[in-house]
Amino acid sequence: MNVFRFELRRAWTSATVWTLVILGLMAGLIAGALPVFLDSRANVEAMLSNFPPEFAAAFGLELDHIFSFGGFYSFGFLYYSLFGAIMTAVIGLDLFSREKREKCTDFLMSKPRSRDGLFLAKLLAALTLILLSNVLFIAESLALYRAYAPVPDAPARALLASSALLFTELVFLAIAVFAAVFARKVRSVSGAATAIGFGGFILSALQSILEEEKLRYVTPFKYFDPSKAFFEGSFDTPYVITAVLLTLGLLIAAYIRYTRSDVPAL
């Protein structure tokens, strides 16, 4: 428990800041822009028709659905999940490369704890932060749905759609933990986390432009589609399975490496 508490105490500030950014962005977009956006449908459609369709796709605009709460929510979701992915990557990289960065692996690993225990304590601390952040995100999503959806008659679907962030973040947590454990050196947590987040974002934009279904298997931002959740009440099973396998695979590989590898002398 002491390692869990220690990690929570050292990581909670950045998790809080990122969570506030995501919550603020969503509140601003939906409370601030959605009503105006819905009112000016004709103007927006006219403006978008001047751009090539790839442009709109790259930024997550799905024209069939955009003029509804679900469509607009899904449009903003690409950005919430980008920030969410960066936040999770920060948490994963920070916790799992802490001793490596600060050159005190010897300190931690010569304490009477098994490496399994250390890995689990760190993972639990990361999951705790991510879960707390998502409880707030889902609560705000539902509150906004109630307040701003023209007909808020499907709260279960809104709940499923907003849970997409949590699931997406879990995939990114696994990527970050894997990267932190296997990297020889982690120079800057925020730099690496931004790279992971934007890497995913670029893949996602590419996939939207090319509309290549196979590419979607390597695009974590597209595993859990909130639009599909809103309008059809489910996620796409093949991608959910991909996400689960990828997450477990990366975490298991990281676990094996963390618990078995030699700690290099300084």
Binding site: E102, S110, S114
Partner: protein, 296 residues
């Protein structure tokens, strides 16, 4: 009495690179045991294998009769470790780090932290990253001793400590030893091993080359001999003499063997001056290494 540390044919390769080969050690409980060798000889590799930081390639290692890999957690509860270079988490005061360190052990270490900090005159409220190397080292010492371990493992512990602090440090270690703690002290500086240890193992290129009591090492093995002659002696030889250095009228060497043979040989020379003394450990040590390559 049982062994605090026992290894048999302990071997570690890093890929193909040699770490240690067939290391046999038996450190008795309550002993102050020295472990000397130059950098790269395998001291740290041995210690890190004992601590479970690295996995052995072959052989056996146990501490207090428990297997170093299988019973690692139980062993580490009774071990205090001070690495050569100390690094800790950023942005932490010494007291926070020490409290975190103490939280791994099932006992209250608060009193002990204060006591050790006082003995070392360490300011616990300072941030560790703002400390000098010496003060960081003190944090490391407190961290290694705060749970009153049964076995203390010191890997090149004195670098960064001024001579006065070294003395305080040695006093601390001696006191822990009197309390019953076993100490494994690794160093490449022989003076300090000589100062504190009962027995010493000498390691060279991954293998233990000798194991001796400090007194025996000094008393029975080698004499340091130097003499000056009226005229240069060309190509001085004597069986039992090693490291013969000749410089003009001066000749010096290390001698092991019958003292009578030594004096009989010297008596045949026109001596101006002669000196026979106990060699420094350092010089004995060099003897083990002559011909061998030292790796940094």
């Amino acid at each position: 009495m049982g062994y605090a540390i026992q290894t048999s044919k302990l071997t570690k390769y890093y890929g193909k690179a040699r770490g240690i080969i067939d290391v046999d050690l038996a450190v008795e409980e309550g002993e102050l045991f020295g472990f000397i060798g130059p950098n790269g000889a395998g001291k740290s590799t041995t210690i890190r294998t004992l601590l479970g930081l690295i996995r052995k390639t072959g052989g056996e290692a146990s501490i207090f009769g428990m297997d170093c890999e299988k019973d690692k957690v139980k062993i580490l509860e009774q071990v205090g470790y001070l690495p050569g270079e100390v690094f800790y988490y950023d942005n932490m005061r010494a007291i926070d780090l020490l409290r975190y360190s103490a939280s791994f052990y099932k006992k209250d270490c608060t009193g002990r932290i204060r006591e050790l900090a006082d003995a070392l005159s360490l300011d616990l409220n300072k941030k560790i990253e703002d400390m000098s190397l010496g003060n960081k080292k003190k944090v490391g010492i407190v961290q290694g001793l705060l749970h009153s371990p049964r076995l203390i493992i010191l890997d090149e512990p004195t670098s960064g400590l001024d001579p006065l602090m070294q003395r305080t440090f040695f006093d601390l270690i001696r006191r822990e030893n009197e309390r019953g703690a076993t100490v494994l002290f690794s160093s490449h500086i022989l003076g300090e091993v000589q100062r504190i240890c009962d027995r010493v193992a000498i390691i060279k290129e991954g293998r233990i080359v000798d194991l001796k009591r400090i007194e025996d090492l000094r008393k029975n093995s080698y004499k340091k001999v130097s003499f000056t002659t009226a005229a240069p002696v060309s190509d001085f030889t004597l069986s039992g003499a090693a490291k013969i250095v000749q410089d003009g009228n001066q000749t010096s060497f290390l001698y092991s063997g019958d003292v009578n043979a030594l004096f009989a040989r010297l008596a045949g020379l026109q001596l101006v001056n002669a000196d026979v003394s106990e060699p420094e450990l350092e010089e004995i040590f060099l003897h083990y290494y002559e011909g061998g390559e030292e790796k940094a």
